[in-house]
Amino acid sequence: MNGTDVQFAICGSAGDGTIAAGDILKRTMALMGYKVIAFDIYPAEIRGFGKCISRVRVTTEQAYSLKHQSDVLMSLNDAHAIPHVGEVRDFGAVIYDNAPIARLPEGGHVSAHIRPMQLPYGVSFRSISDRATGNARGRNIVALGYLAGLYGMPAEAFHQTIANKFATKPQAVTDANVRAFEAGYEAAIGTFKLDDVVMGSPLHRADGARAVMMTGNGAVVRGLMDAGIDCYFGYPITPATTIMERLAVEMPRRGGRMLQTEDEISAIAATIGAGYAGARSATATSGPGLALMAEMLGLGVMAEVPSVVIVSQRGGPSTGMPTKTEQSDLNMAVFGGAGDARRIVLAPTNVEGCYRCAGLAFELAEKFQTPVIVLLDLYLSNRYETVIPPKENPFEPKQATGPQGPVFRRFELTESGVSPRAVPGQAGGVHTITGLEHNELGRPSDQPDNHVAMSAKRYRKLEPATRYPGLTTIKRFGAAGKVDIGILGWGSTFGEILEAMFEAENEGISCSAMKVVMLSPLPVDELEAFFADCRVVLVPELNHEGQLATLVSGTLGRPVVRLPRATGAPMRVDEILAEVRRLAAETAAAAE
């Protein structure tokens, strides 16, 4: 391997500082100029003993997903880390505290589970922290320091990150953490490194642009902010909450308004209310919240009110697995609710896509006067990637609205299907909108011809969305032209698909991958072309039934091979690869 490609996993219990350690690690890596993809897994529990894992993949070349195998696992809590020892590759490292204070039963220590090809590093984080800072709370930072020392990372970069992280706390906190880091770092210097994990130097961009690190949710926030969000309404729900939390910080500083509502229904209701009143307004939720919002989204479609709904999916149905990732809300996002309620659904595949989709969602919502759902999942919401921020704000500012002509026909049946729009406060545009079927003036009408015309309008107007400038609605990767295996994917899973596809290419398999960012309306022409090029199309996704497979297969009337996996964890590259290999073999056999 030419460049660096190391994935660290830090696992501990909530309260161990696992995520914080991972956070410092990935920020430092980003600061140093590496590309970073990171993903934290939180427990559903508030505190106590839930498992936290922070995975950080550090690369010099572009990576598309986390690797299913980590190079290094650092355990801050053996009980939680033990199940993850297996994810460490052969000749990778497992780092753990070799002096826990509680007596453990047999197998209770992570060392009991280290595979023969993995390399153990027992370090007494606790006692080192005790010595360095006077208490054991800094053991996560000790461990981080140990990691840094073990792999020869520059301590100064970590110092800076630590200082940033504790900027709002007393200086003593920063100092203690730095001491803990240094102590761990020194411990590592005295450790003989046995694994083959190697950190090379980061590559720096020719244009000198500095990458920043963002989560999918963070990128969503940035996108919403850059697109000029006026109002946000939300109700806390994992894994979307961080969007609201960050907006709560950012929006008041820029004149926007963030309101925590009493439930998701009111969140979407207020979002649509604000959208009606001319604001760029958004809400964010997860599957259960989206289920509650379904009725309101229908209203948004019917009343043609712009609104943006960020949905970060998690394990379902019902309360499901709040802290696990899943892509099982596609059906609801695309079809959910009553009636023929076509809306725009975007599913970014990476953090940068989250930024663009969130910002463009406002443009689309405004241009096409419809709710726009940006469909993330926990894995994408919470994963960190290094992103080069655009030099200039790429989003169009809010478009002026206004009535045209003496009689304001809010729902005029135009050729495009998009009607003139006015917002409250504008003279000459007074109108009433409704969730009832209505005529061009917005008056309730259940006449057959009218319903046909209006339904057609609501579908017709969204067609150009698939070609919206600046938005990648669908894209093919890998070999062009005819291939044996096509892999079709969406959302967070597409990173794994790409990794698998490139690996398969390396193995000589004729394959290609396509991501579908716009799930509704579906870019049918491009999909048709892709299907025409592929002997077999494989659709890996994180749900039980294969919802994209059903959507695409149903839409195109073409067979697909499903690879639905709903485990709560991200898709495994090796699993995709295995399926690709199997299909390639079948294809080859069939060809003979």
Partner: protein, 293 residues
Amino acid sequence: MNELLKPVYLEEKLEEIRADGHQDYRSRSLPTWCPGCGYFSMAEGFTLALKKLGRSAEEVVVVSGIGCASRFPFFVNTYGFHTLHGRTLPVATGVKQANDALTVVAVGGDGDAFAIGGGHIPHAARRNVDITYLVFDNGIYGLTKGQTSPTSVLGFRTSTSPYENGDEPLNPLMMLLAYRASWVGQAYAGHPHHLADMIAEAIAHRGFSYLHILSPCVTFDKTTRTYRNLNMQVRDLPSGYDRTDLAAAMGEAMKVDHPALGVFYEESRPTLADVMDETARKAGLSPVPAGGE
């Protein structure tokens, strides 16, 4: 000369009405409520109130849910949003958040407000969103042709309580007072002038104002909440009543057999917008808290 007996000359009256202009606040569409419905009273009172307050049509947004009362936006010539069952207040909150300059009036019936939408009221009230909530309480579901509502009286027979309603009706005024609505009043559809005045006062109030409007359902309730009965039951608030006394307001609200008309309670406290402004001020002074991204 007896002025009361003096005949009304139509052309003069029409001229007067045209000059007054309150009919400009009406939409072109005729209200689709049953003839005689008390909701007409609020529609008319609303237009009179807007005229009285001098609000221009385009700066007013009427938000409603689902139900007979919620058809209201179609019948006024302001911006209107006929939303979903029970979701009036959140949508109205959204509209107000988007533009403080708008006069936002939420409108709904008793089912919309207290059954499906009951969960939203406390929050709009406690946040003191500067909107006006007009609830038209006829104690029945009219649009679905006569089922029991949260304010249906005990013993009321409806299509869903064929053996008489046994559920204690809730007391909206007590609820709203408890929720800390900063303006709580009650009016009656049979007293349109008073109703119009109350709507005007409710809209003029800065903060969350709640006006409970007693109205008969002339189609599905021929026995309980009729004009005849209400005419006999309603009363004025006692003389010397102190509208800043929450305990007194509660006391009056408890007298359900003889509902009082008037302003039960009024207080002045920061609105949601005020809080938002204060938040913005604090945000401007503070370092950026970490977290989130």
